[in-house]
């Protein structure tokens, strides 16, 4: 596995907002944004556009390094089961490659 990729942290959103505990009644509850470290690489722009609508980055990489098939099937699952039908076949390919390169285990299957 290649481990020399340039590693950068990307702040997905602004700093954390402190919340009063009794927020339920009169004010909005503010769920903080957590800055998950993200590995930059080819195709990240597509991932950012297509994969962060429904969940955070942390949610996707939680399963650790995985095979190309694993990532391919995840992207398919998003399209088939969760109806992320805005993702084109071409984008699906780019996204799969991004995850396999950055969060892959080196195995195709």
């Amino acid at each position: 596995m290649k481990i020399t990729n340039r590693i950068k942290k990307l702040l997905l959103a602004a700093a954390v907002i402190a919340v009063p505990l009794s927020a339920k009644v009169n004010e909005d509850v503010a769920v903080p944004y957590v800055a998950f470290p993200i590995k930059m690489g080819k195709g990240f722009d597509v991932v950012q556009a297509q994969c962060l609508t429904c969940h955070s980055f942390g949610y996707m990489i939680n399963q650790g390094p995985q095979s190309r098939t694993f990532w391919k099937e995840k992207v398919e699952k998003m399209i088939v089961h969760f109806k992320a039908d805005m993702i084109t076949e071409k984008d699906a390919e780019i996204i799969t490659d991004y995850f396999f390169e950055q969060y892959g285990n080196g195995k195709l299957k």
Binding site: I7, V29, F36, P37, C54, S56, G58, Y59, N62, D85
Partner: protein, 401 residues
């Protein structure tokens, strides 16, 4: 090493998101990942916890809370499916709707719930079906929880059956659908609706508004959630707003595909040969977790050490908890609490001894329920693709100095 330092930063910056097992191929189950770092970021009404995601919020409790019978609200695990959770709830106007195949549709406010019905309490364990999923190899799909996607609380509310009685079920009524206020971020994504068959519901199922004497925390489903003692938490719908009675089962992603295990004797399969028939995870199997000492702690030679932990099952009741200090060759009985918290609650255990050998020492706990069902060794638990229902004998490694 660059990669190592990346993992370290990732852990301290964001909690556990980036930590996973690397491509081990041997398909043996092992101990779940333990001792993950807590995040620096606290979520509303919570202390900083192990944090997997902010949208939807996914927070895990640390092992030390399992030294106690009740899990504090501010350390109780959090698992939402959908990212779009209302951020403002008005308790004056919040209403649960009961409709479908009923004689009379009901719209019940919080106030009515608290005043017009008999109030009941139950102490019950809430555990995610995927708790401890990180034990499975190869990696099973879903959040790689350690042991902390569970907790035990005293819930207060109203019996679901009392609400349904008041509405009056029509005779064709067979299924009850529960929907909460959380929504998918995209309009076509299926919502997290659960359905239960009437036969599965008994008087222990309650519509709860209080947890450990306080309003439910926002992240645990304020203002109302379903409590189904003995069952995994996938159907304990949070921010419950709709109860719909039907005669037919509706096909739903989160019922038909998620939270299911192979429908065979061992509830197991292999990645190459997945089981064709599956069934819902429903009732919890017998499990124990050590709360003290925690992984990698240092204990003093010849000191009086008290191991503490919790055990539970689906409500059959815990018969005994055994402790082993020799890799499971010999077992010795721990002392159980009096069980007065009820059969759905954590049963705490304690075991005192003096560590007489220096160096690393493994402490193991195994619970046995009243049916004689006991926890298997981790390595003997067979794989299922969703990584559900792990209940291996618990292990904690400490160092005696």
């Amino acid at each position: 090493m660059e990669r190592r330092s990346f993992i370290k930063t990732a852990l301290s910056a964001a909690g556990a998101a980036a930590l996973g097992s690397t491509g081990l191929n041997a398909a043996t189950t092992r101990q779940p990942v333990d001792n993950r770092k807590i995040s620096e970021v606290a979520f509303p009404e919570k202390r900083p916890m192990i944090t997997y995601s902010d949208r939807p919020p996914l927070l895990e409790s640390t092992r030390d809370v399992f030294a106690y019978p009740i899990t504090p609200n501010d350390q109780f695990f959090v698992r939402w499916h959908m990212p779009d959770i209302p951020t403002r709830i008005d308790p004056e106007t919040y209403t649960i709707h009961i409709n479908g195949l009923v004689e009379k549709e009901l719209h019940i406010t919080l106030d009515q719930l608290k005043n017009d019905f008999e109030q009941v309490e139950v102490t019950a364990v809430l555990q995610c079906g995927g708790n401890s999923r990180s034990a499975f190899q190869p990696v099973a799909g879903g959040i790689q929880w350690g042991n902390g996607a569970m907790g035990c609380a005293k819930w207060k509310g109203v019996r679901l059956s009392d609400l349904l009685d008041k509405a009056g079920l029509k005779k064709e009524a067979a299924w009850i659908g529960f929907n909460g206020q959380d929504n998918a971020a995209y309009y076509k994504t299926p919502n997290f609706v659960r359905e239960l068959h009437l036969d599965e519901l008994d008087d222990h199922v309650i519509v709860a508004y209080e947890m450990n004497g306080e309003d439910l925390p926002y992240l645990n489903g304020y203002p109302i959630r379903l409590v189904i003692p003995g069952y995994y938490s996938d159907s304990w719908v949070k921010m419950l707003s709709n109860i719909t009675v039907t005669d037919k089962y509706k096909s739903l992603f989160f019922m038909d595909v998620a939270y299911r295990v192979p429908d065979n004797e061992c509830e197991c399969e292999t990645p190459e040969k997945r089981a064709k028939k599956t069934k819902p995870i429903t009732k919890m199997n017998v499990k124990s977790v050590i709360g003290y000492p925690t992984q990698d702690s240092i204990v003093t030679h010849n000191s009086h050490l008290v191991v503490r932990g919790v055990a539970f099952d689906s409500g059959q009741g815990i018969r005994e908890v055994l402790i082993s200090l020799d890799e499971g060759k010999t077992w010795d009985q721990a002392i159980l609490d009096d069980g007065s918290a009820g059969r759905y609650a954590f049963r705490t255990f304690r075991y005192s001894f003096k560590p007489t050998k220096y160096g690393k020492m493994k402490i193991m706990s195994k619970a046995i329920n009243k049916l004689g069902e006991e926890q298997p060794f981790a390595k003997d638990i067979q794989w299922n693709h969703g990584g559900y229902k792990y209940n291996g004998i618990d292990e904690v490694m400490v160092e005696v100095v």
